[in-house]
């Protein structure tokens, strides 16, 4: 179940999908071009949470210029739990970062969903995100519910 590319769709369309396991995504984030003021991260959590069986993975990825508090965060829900996540996106939102500050080693980031016509009932237009690299945890919300995500990748100035 931990095979990186165990789900591969090479069917009649000639198109392919492969599983994107945790390591693969972390590798991807490292590809971002980074400057001295750039914070990059990726955080993942299973959905729904225990005691339910996770059906999907909530993934937040971001690249933020901490010098001026700008950048972009993308929120995804991928089919498959974190241990066998696919690259099939069930939900995507792009968030424009409006503020980033650090307090006591924790980054506090605020952003706004860019295309608010996408928003569904109960969904937040504003993202409030905390990145605690020491504990390896990100705190955010999903449809109004607080959720803790595991930081898979984090680099900061």
């Amino acid at each position: 179940m931990n095979t990186l590319s165990r789900r591969r769709f090479l069917t009649l369309t000639g198109a392919g999908i492969v599983a994107v396991a945790a390591g693969g995504i972390a590798l991807a984030v490292r590809q971002f071009s980074e400057s001295a003021n750039t914070l990059t991260f990726q955080a993942v959590s299973g959905l729904p949470a225990k005691p339910l069986i996770s059906y999907a993975s909530y993934v937040l990825t971001g690249k933020i210029d901490t010098s001026n508090g700008t950048g972009t965060i993308t929120k995804y829900v991928y089919a498959g739990p974190p241990e066998s996540m696919t690259s099939i996106s069930l939900y995507t939102r792009t968030v424009r970062v409006t503020k980033a500050s650090q307090q006591g080693g924790v980054w506090h980031i605020t952003g706004v969903v860019e295309n608010q016509a996408q928003l569904q009932k109960g969904e937040d237009a504003v993202l409030q995100l905390q990145l605690d690299s020491v504990r390896g945890i990100a705190q955010a919300s999903f449809f109004g519910s607080p959720i803790a995500l595991r930081l898979q990748h984090f680099t900061a100035p």
Binding site: V18, I25, K121, S145
Partner: protein, 345 residues
């Protein structure tokens, strides 16, 4: 829902993983679709993936039954046709031993020039229990429908359809992901599937009170393996983790009590049920067989009609009544006549 639905997108992150990327993916996985073929094969075809299975008395004709197996939740972009190396089966247990006594087997030709045809066989006895493509041909060279208009093939007392249709399933998927905090947003309202619809005389089922399930066999490197199965909705999703889903998909109903009953019982207790209730409910789901009395039009759990709100029924059971609805109702595009599945989007 439709005005607020995002355009499905493949993650650009996969571009970094050094593997093929699907640039434009439309459609989405339906709920009960996280199935893989076989970890050893490390390959998975979406058109082998059963999304839902329905069985109901033919409206207006108590002497016939409608069987529907939906597969391929993201047509046509991930899979443009049925898999010619697969056998798509409706399986019927007539004596309560969780072994198939009757099987309807559907196979497809190679997809060429935008066309594909289907053959339907009916097997009984040892042939039905087997994993081969044995059985009497009851429908041959039936055209698969890839457009809006369904092409229906009639042969004797049978009618058959296979092809692209509207996904009849309804569910607030994001509410499920949000720990069962539902908002009534139907994630599947504008999704399509590949439907296999078979109308059969009740006599061909082998009994009045039967148990049914669907499965897909797939031939790969000379080996025929069971890669997907589904009787009741949601069972594999609600109770099994990723590794267990694979095992569940490969299992026969007669094996499932030994393999899964204790685990499902424990999961139901975790979800708030008493030990006694959890055991009782687990026995409703394991083995994963849809029971059906041909004389009844009652609907789920007596068979399953397209409009049956199976999500609400199952949510109430598994959560001990804490959650009784996802606030989503049936679609309005079901057809009143064969093949019953609505026009694709």
């Amino acid at each position: 829902m439709s005005s607020h639905r995002e355009a499905p997108a493949i993650s650009n992150l996969s571009a970094f993983s050094g593997v093929p990327t699907l640039a434009q993916m439309g459609g989405l996985f339906a709920l009960d679709t996280l199935k893989q073929v076989n970890p050893a094969v490390q390959e998975w075809h979406v058109n082998l993936n059963i999304t839902d299975f329905y069985t109901f008395q033919k409206p207006g004709d108590a002497g016939k039954t409608i069987l529907i197996m939906n597969v391929n939740p993201m047509p046509p972009k991930l899979a443009a046709a049925f898999d010619p190396d697969a056998i798509y089966e409706f399986r019927i247990d007539t004596n309560g031993d969780a072994v198939a006594d009757v099987a309807f087997r559907v196979t497809f030709s190679v997809y060429q020039n935008g066309q594909q045809t289907a053959t339907v066989r009916r097997a009984t006895g040892q042939q039905a229990a087997s994993n081969d493509n044995s059985g009497e041909v009851i429908i041959a060279s039936a055209p698969v429908s890839f457009g809006e208009q369904p092409q229906v093939t009639h042969s004797g007392d049978y009618a058959f359809f296979a092809g692209l249709r509207s996904d009849p399933f309804f569910f607030d998927l994001m509410g499920f992901c949000n720990n069962l905090k539902f908002t009534g947003t139907d994630y599947f309202l504008d999704k399509d599937v590949f439907g296999i619809v078979l109308e059969v005389p009740n006599s061909a089922l082998g009994g009045q009170k039967v148990g049914l399930w669907s499965r897909v066999l797939w031939a790969h490197d000379g080996e025929v393996m069971q890669v997907a199965r589904l009787g009741l909705p949601l069972v594999n999703i609600l109770f099994n983790n990723a590794a267990e889903k694979d095992q569940f998909n490969r299992s026969e109903p007669a094996q499932q009590a030994a393999l899964f009953l204790n685990k499902v019982t424990a999961q139901l207790e975790n979800m708030g049920n008493t030990a006694n209730n959890a055991r009782e409910i687990a026995r409703m789901f394991i083995p994963d067989i849809l029971h059906y009395d041909t004389s009844s039009t009652r609907g789920f759990f007596n068979g399953r009609r397209l409009s049956d709100d199976v999500v609400d029924t199952i949510l109430g059971l598994v959560t001990a009544g804490r959650v009784t609805t996802d606030m989503v109702g049936p679609h309005t595009d079901y057809l009143p006549a064969f093949p019953y599945l609505g026009q694709p989007h």
